[in-house]
């Protein structure tokens, strides 16, 4: 079948469509005009115009995380590419599959300090999984398909394809996705059978097992989530999840202990410390979880299942590392378990559960409400309770509200919780909500935000208005950068240096200026009605919830402390000073 010769821009559009892409988040510019011209001439691929390129990448992240597909970004050269860097770094840290197309000056001008030129591949090399500069028109199609393969294979991540303008105009051959048989990058999917057999053995013999699951389960896909739940049921072990893993096990499961880590639950952290076998599935022993490395779960043996070999034995030396895809490894493990008719040490595990239940009784997440001022935890808890009757997707910004959301909003399914974990990017939540809503047009999408974070990418409200995306921005307004203030209170003698949100806009008026609805609640008696009005409104809403400005987030493992050494409330703060070593940690 003879096909008309295509130019590079047409090759780009066709490659995206052949990869199953239906939406691209982007912002035009000189270096990408040819691609935008081709976009204009067709209507299969939908383009969402953001208001800042950082917003484009975060929107693509929200879209990718909530749908399981690769998020696609299109930005111009120079400032377009550099504005995308924060989003790309965020995607790299949280393992989100993104393909980011950047325009570039023509090949003969590269290296000449041309207008809107920057060394995109040099700048993005450390903050992407991989990047390409297409200098040869013959390689454009192949490179694009390879970029998708790299973005979604193994541990997902962001890939940049830098396309010079002359390549976009040049005649290029086209080839379809085919089956990319990459010559070097072939991540290991199937786990080593011998190691899996050993793991089965260790689990059967354990007296105090704990399962520590992370974002890798969700990245692996719905089958992995299903198998993980089966694995938890089969072993009956207490299970905790990381911030990125919330939803990998239904929160209602009786074996679920809540989130682990710096602001995790008492029972989760204690179980991790006192266990004799820790089974890590798709998590990476991040410093928010481990606390002081030399005091991390000292008496336990550790099994680590991860698709990324560099995650294993990076921070913590484990006893058994199994490289492989979570779904594949768990499937093999359960097969062996069944075939050998293994059981856990039922008596010992029952006794262990008694200990764990004793920790649960502490009810570490309880907080005092009062009639005069709205407590931030109460606002989030009521939001959760009033949305139980429908499918809701939550994005968050970064800070205290993010931790309270992780503690009080319970997820029964994966891919409904989008947050910036590894990089902790303020300004993530609003654009991410845009991306999520595009992936799920009929669902309720709520961005649980802080007022300082919301100011960072507020311009994306215009994107929501343009595309009629009824996202709800639920601002927990405590007039401070809450988490920074909390640390300044704890470590820096209460010197709140530059952490006060000065000159805040009237969020209701600001919402209305954009064309959205604005709502406000300042008293506990107004909370429920405001939430209900927010949900009922058919369009984007910004809700300003004025909360107690001095509330701190507990439990907390202070920096430099061991992970079983937690603060539970303001009275604890006074008693335990942070060590010198702890002071220097973020």
């Amino acid at each position: 079948m003879a096909s008309e010769p295509m130019n590079g821009a047409q090759v780009v559009i066709k490659s995206l469509l052949d990869q199953g892409v239906d939406v691209v988040f982007g912002y035009p510019g000189g270096a990408v005009l040819p691609i935008y011209d081709e976009l204009f001439k067709q209507n299969q691929l939908r383009h969402i115009l953001v208001r800042h390129e950082q917003g484009a990448v975060h929107a693509a992240e929200g879209y990718a995380r909530s749908t399981g597909k690769v998020g696609v970004v299109l930005v111009t050269s120079g400032p377009g590419a550099t504005n995308a860097v924060t989003g790309l770094t965020d995607a790299l840290m949280d393992s989100v599959p993104i393909v980011c197309l950047t325009g570039q000056v023509p090949t003969h001008l590269i290296g000449n300090d041309a207008f809107q030129e920057c060394d995109t591949t040099g700048i993005t090399r450390p903050c992407t999984k991989h990047n390409y500069l297409v200098k040869d028109a013959d390689r454009l199609a192949k490179t694009l398909h390879e970029a998708f393969y790299v973005a979604r294979s193994g541990r997902p991540g962001p890939v940049v394809v830098d396309i010079p303008k002359d390549i976009q105009f040049a005649t290029c051959p086209y080839s379809g996705p085919g089956n990319v048989k990459h010559k070097t990058y072939r991540p290991q999917i199937k786990g080593d059978a011998g190691k899996i057999a050993k793991a089965v053995d260790m689990i059967a013999k354990a007296k105090r097992p704990v399962i520590y699951g992370g974002g890798g389960i969700i990245n692996s896909g719905p089958k992995a989530v299903e198998l993980f739940t089966k694995f938890v049921k089969t072993t009956g072990a207490p299970t905790t999840l990381t911030l990125m893993g919330l939803g990998a096990l239904p929160a209602a499961d009786q074996r679920y202990l809540g989130m682990v880590g710096m602001h995790g639950t008492y029972e989760a952290n204690m179980a991790m410390h006192d266990c004799d076998l820790m089974i890590c599935v798709g998590a990476r022993f991040d410093d928010r979880v481990t606390g002081r490395l030399d005091a991390f779960s000292p008496g336990s043996k550790k099994i680590h299942i991860d698709i990324d070999p560099t995650s294993i034995n990076k921070n913590i030396a484990v006893d058994l590392g199994i490289v492989g895809d979570v779904a594949s490894v768990l499937e093999d493990l359960l097969k062996v378990w069944k075939a050998e008719q293994k059981t856990t040490d039922k008596k010992a595990v029952a006794s262990w559960w008694k200990t764990v239940d004793g920790w649960r009784e502490r009810d570490c997440l309880k907080f005092a409400t009062n009639k005069k001022v709205i407590k931030p935890q109460e606002a989030i808890k009521r939001l959760y309770e009033l949305t139980l009757d429908r499918e809701v997707f939550i994005t968050t910004e970064v800070g205290q509200h993010q931790m309270w959301a992780a503690q009080h909003f319970r997820f029964e399914k994966p891919n409904h919780w989008m947050t910036s974990g590894g990089l902790g990017t303020m300004g993530y939540g609003l654009p991410a909500a845009v991306g999520v809503q595009l992936g799920h047009p009929d669902a309720l999408v709520v961005d649980i935000a802080g007022e300082a974070s919301t100011m960072m990418n507020i311009q994306e409200l215009a994107t929501a208005i343009q595309y009629r995306l009824p996202i709800k921005i639920f601002i927990i307004n405590n007039e401070y950068m809450g988490m920074v203030r909390q640390w300044q209170e704890l470590l820096h003698g209460g010197r709140y240096s530059e952490s006060y949100s000065n000159a805040l806009p009237d969020f209701v008026k600001l919402a209305e200026a954009f064309g959205a609805k604005g709502l406000r609640a300042t008293k506990p008696s107004e909370l429920d009605d405001t939430i209900k009005a927010m949900i009922a409104h058919d369009g984007p809403v910004v809700v300003d919830i004025a909360v107690d400005p001095k509330e701190n987030c507990f439990p907390m493992i202070p920096s430099g402390a061991a992970h079983n050494d937690m603060l539970f409330g303001p009275d604890d703060e006074a008693g335990k000073p942070v060590s010198e070593d702890g002071m220097v940690l973020v």
């Binding site: 090399r125 990459h182 010559k183 070097t184 560099t310 034995n313």
Partner: protein
């Protein structure tokens, strides 16, 4: 505390623009040490290059370094020559010694002992060219330093495993 070990790692990579920057960026970004790094194309069609990197760290860091390098997309193979068995290491050094009189004569005698070749000579200087194991080069340089003003240009270490198995 774990002991710091010195490892020589051979890496086969796609010979494409930027691949050296990728590997070096990985080392500098993660704070890994590069004692020496050499690279050149090695396949008939020049599509493949070989890098020899000498690095040091605790055993856990060395394992991390190898895994991180292996994870890079254009990498074909990573071989830890130090860990995989007997191997050879060679480097070439050009050493200029500016001296006269007795020191100059002594430097020539020592060069003889080390089997260094004289690549350049004036009445007040020599340039010696020495090929050999890094330790031999270091010993020669130390001796030359004690004899006069020296200028040193070293190529960096290349390594290869002993025996019949070829990568």
């Amino acid at each position: 505390m774990s002991e710091i070990e010195r490892h020589t790692i051979a890496v086969l990579v796609d010979n494409e623009p930027g691949v050296l920057a990728r590997v070096v960026g990985l080392f500098s970004g993660r704070g890994y040490n590069i004692e020496s790094l050499t690279v050149s194309s090695v396949s008939v069609d020049a599509s493949l290059s070989r890098m020899t990197i000498v690095t040091s760290g605790t055993p856990m860091i060395i394992e991390q370094i190898k895994a991180q390098v292996n994870k890079l997309v254009p990498i074909h193979e990573v071989h830890d020559l130090t860990a995989e068995g007997p191997h050879l290491e060679r480097e070439i050094a050009l050493i200029k010694v500016v001296a006269s009189g007795a020191e100059r004569r002594e430097s020539l005698r020592i060069a003889d002992i080390f089997n260094a070749k004289v690549a350049d000579t004036t009445t007040g200087s020599f340039v010696f060219s020495l090929t050999g194991k890094p330790e031999k080069i270091e010993a020669f340089i130390e001796l030359m330093r004690s004899l006069g003003k020296t200028e040193i240009a070293r190529s960096g270490v290349v390594g290869i495993a002993r025996g019949a198995k070829a990568l």
